[in-house]
């Protein structure tokens, strides 16, 4: 009897064993690989998104308080708040415009010249990536990053008409400008189907990594048109109008330098080795240009000024912007050295020759710096840093002139020329329109009293209180 019982339990155990094994069996290898691939992609996406959100914040910081301080320190005390308010107004207004319609015009599908209305009210701009633009980050990250560029570009233009433009006219003009000049240019260089888009098969592929044409040439050239159209400040150039606080400008310029890492390295659209290249180039471009502007001043005036050194660094940052993700570090130093000296010449000599009152040198630094930077990009672009051009078999083609692709200089010229033309034509039309309807300049009495009081009812400094 007991032997049968033992045999019974032995058989029972043997029958149960497979069940035990089934409960703890491991998933198949291919399941594990699939899961691993998904985790790796998520990790990559997290890294890229972290950097891109950080970069977006850095670029916004460039406008507020970077540019606000840089420009603010250069004007007279009575106009400090009004000048800062112009940058801040862009932060507020352009953000809304971007969400409503400008993002769609810049980055939505459309023609070679402008996007359409597909993405108005940010329709279709969700958290899933758009592989055409950036495959590893949510499209909303891309959108918000690009918004910061759209904010700073019109803010740069304000430098041309500082101390004499009505707030209402400025806000209206720059809002329209963001639609008519910025959005098309951004679309042509960076948007799907854009005429100048080097990454997405544009007809005239223009190498513009972070916006030398889109941001700096458009703002700088438009600034020149504004300065010429509005005319000089009362008392310029006889009456002395030195900066009321180079201290503020200094702080602003340093914030611009740091923020520019987001502007250029963020344009890699991920936390990749390309971002490193852009970061490194940005830094060396700024440093080299600060030195060349300071050296030029030292030679000409006998002393290197703080204002000169920081202006030089901004000029270098402007010039390296189109080149940041395309050139070798030593080329970045050379570009910086050239830009510092060239922009110094534009601001000191050329402005005096023609006599225009580009109050804060938006054209001299951004227009000129962007132009020379875009052209030098065509010379120095290296496929070793960024293999942007490939043939049908996928083999890498030379990028710039020094690599053998002299044709690229021609493409750069097309981009530069288009930026100049759209800026001049668009700005002239809009200035005329706003002048006729609202009136651009403040009254002479208001200009003398100061914009802080007359436009905003405030005083920037009240040390007596």
């Amino acid at each position: 009897m007991r032997r049968n019982l033992v045999r019974f339990f032995l058989v029972l155990t043997l029958c149960c064993a497979p069940v035990l094994f089934a409960q703890t069996s491991t998933p198949s290898t291919s399941d594990r690989i699939t899961k691993l691939e998904s985790q790796v992609t998520q990790a990559q996406s997290s890294a890229d998104n972290a950097w891109m959100l950080t970069s977006a914040a850095l670029v916004l910081m460039m406008t507020g308080p970077g540019l606000a301080l840089f420009y603010g320190g250069l004007v007279r005390k009575k106009n400090i708040l009004a000048t800062m308010m112009q940058s801040f107004a862009m932060m507020a207004i352009i953000s809304i415009m971007w969400a409503l319609v400008n993002y769609s015009l810049a980055f939505g599908p459309g023609t070679s010249f402008i996007g359409g209305l597909h993405n108005v009210f940010l329709r279709g701009v969700g958290l899933a990536p758009d592989p055409d633009y950036a495959a590893t980050i949510p499209l909303q990250t891309f959108m918000i990053y690009q918004l910061m560029f759209a904010i700073i570009t019109p803010a740069l233009v304000t430098g041309a008409f500082a101390e004499r433009m009505k707030f209402s006219a400025m806000a209206t003009f720059l809002t329209l400008w963001s639609i008519v000049v910025y959005s098309p240019m951004a679309h042509m260089v960076w948007g799907k189907g854009g005429l100048l888009n080097a990454s997405l098969g544009g007809r005239f592929p223009c190498l513009d990594f972070a916006g030398g044409t889109v941001v700096h040439i458009t703002s700088g050239v438009s600034a020149l048109v504004c300065a010429l159209y509005l005319g000089k400040r009362i008392g310029y150039p006889k009456e002395p109008m030195p900066p009321h606080s180079v201290v503020l400008s200094f702080i602003g310029a340093c914030l611009l330098w740091v923020g520019w890492f987001g502007f250029n390295a963020g344009s890699a659209l991920g936390s990749s080795p390309l971002a490193t290249s852009a970061f490194v180039n940005t830094h060396f471009g700024a440093a080299a240009a600060a030195l060349s502007w300071a050296a030029a001043e030292w030679i000409r005036n006998g002393k290197p000024s703080a204002l000169g050194a920081i202006s030089g660094s901004v000029a270098g940052l402007v010039a390296i912007t189109p080149a940041a993700g395309f050139v070798q570090p030593m080329s970045a130093i050379l570009i910086g050295l050239i830009a510092g000296a060239f922009c110094y010449f534009m601001v000191i000599k050329v402005k005096a020759w023609f006599g225009y009152d580009d109050s804060l040198d938006a054209f001299g630094v951004h227009g000129a710096g962007g132009t020379i930077g875009a052209l030098l990009t065509g010379i120095f672009a290296s496929s070793v840093i960024n293999p942007i051009f490939k043939d049908k078999t996928g083999a890498v083609l030379p990028s710039g002139a020094l690599e053998g692709n002299w044709h690229q200089v021609g493409n750069q010229l097309v981009g530069v020329a288009l930026a100049w033309i759209i800026s001049i034509v668009g700005t002239l039309i809009l200035l005329k329109l706003v002048d006729v309807t609202i009136g651009l300049r403040v009254t002479p009495d208001d200009e003398v009293e100061g914009l802080d009081l007359t436009q905003h009812g405030e005083e920037g400094y009240d040390f007596a209180s």
Binding site: P237, P242, E297, Y344, V347, D361
Partner: protein, 112 residues
């Protein structure tokens, strides 16, 4: 009572104050001023434009002292403010009709 107005170099303020306190003058008003006599200004450069700055920073002291202290005060200022270079400043004296202490209506030299 006489009013002493002294325009001096800003760097001499501490020395002048100490010298005046030492001879018994403790009440004075100190203003930050800009100006020049025969002292030339200097040029500054901003973005390639030259600016001549001829309004130079100065300190102005004002004090009202009893007649018997006036000459001592003047000597104290002269010896402590002088550097021997153009730009040292000037002292002006004028007669004061009356002085009144706001706290308690006191008038005359005892209000000083």
């Amino acid at each position: 009572m006489q009013k002493i107005e002294a325009v001096i170099q800003p760097s001499k303020l501490d020395a002048v104050k100490d010298a005046l306190v030492e001879i018994g003058i403790e009440g004075m008003t100190i203003l930050e001023a800009r100006g020049h006599g025969r002292q030339k200004g200097h040029t500054e450069f901003y973005r390639g434009r030259e600016y001549t700055v001829d309004l130079l920073p100065k300190i102005k002291l004002e004090m009202v002292v009893p007649d018997e202290l006036v000459e001592k005060a003047v000597q104290a200022i002269l010896s402590s403010a002088r550097t021997g270079k153009i730009g040292d400043g000037k002292i002006f004296l004028s007669k004061i009709d009356d002085a009144i202490r706001i706290r308690n209506d006191e008038r005359g030299p005892s209000a000083l």
